[in-house]
């Protein structure tokens, strides 16, 4: 399926865009992690990388749909 991924902070630089489209063979957050890691190896160098689905932190087992709002959450640093 085709996903549109929102990026923030350093992930926008690594992936060269704020809304990045990706073809995903698998169906879960874990599959997406693998695909991202393969395409953008620099993501692995981050202190942490969470994936948010529909504006909430998602587990690796979460199943994705094309209509989900997916976002990458590199280490937060507000405050």
């Amino acid at each position: 399926m085709q996903l549109t991924i929102k990026t923030f902070g350093i992930t926008s630089e690594i992936m060269s865009g704020k809304n990045v489209t990706m073809e995903l063979a698998g169906t879960t957050v874990a599959d997406l992690r693998k695909a991202l890691s393969a395409k953008y190896p620099s993501l692995d160098k981050l202190n942490s990388l969470f994936i948010a689905v529909n504006r909430a932190y998602a587990e690796d087992a979460t199943t994705l749909k094309e209509t989900d709002e997916i976002a990458l959450i590199p280490p937060v640093s507000g405050g």
């Binding site: 929102k6 923030f8 902070g9 350093i10 160098k45 981050l46 202190n47 948010a52 504006r55 909430a56 932190y57 976002a71 959450i73 590199p74 280490p75 937060v76 640093s77 507000g78 405050g79």
Partner: protein, 138 residues
Amino acid sequence: MIKLTDKPIDVSKVIEAAKHPTAGGLNVFIGTVRDFHKQKNKRVVRLEFEAYEPMAITEIQKIAAVAIDRWDIKAWAISHSLAKLNVGEVAVVIAVSTAHRKASFEACQFIIDQLKEKVPIWKKEIFEDGEEWVSAHP
């Protein structure tokens, strides 16, 4: 009250929003831009923020819900800047009022600690010779 804003934060307004007639203690945390990054030994020129706004608001609401469950909070307010900030300017204000003072300190500290850990807001430090997203890399 939760507010993410690219205008200068009006600290007094945040405090007013957290006042309550049944409260005796009001604790306020104000995060300001420090002029120096110790680990990097570099002077900070400016800060920039980015937020995943709808999720940031949801996460702040979750943190507040936990705090309200844990302490007898009478009123609270949070404002976070999304502006370009110079040294000394206000990045975040958290105000919490409780009947007695000890709880106001504990609840306010809990909220800022959790905010820094969970809320999707990112800070970029601009140095004289470059810039960097804070905490991104080891």
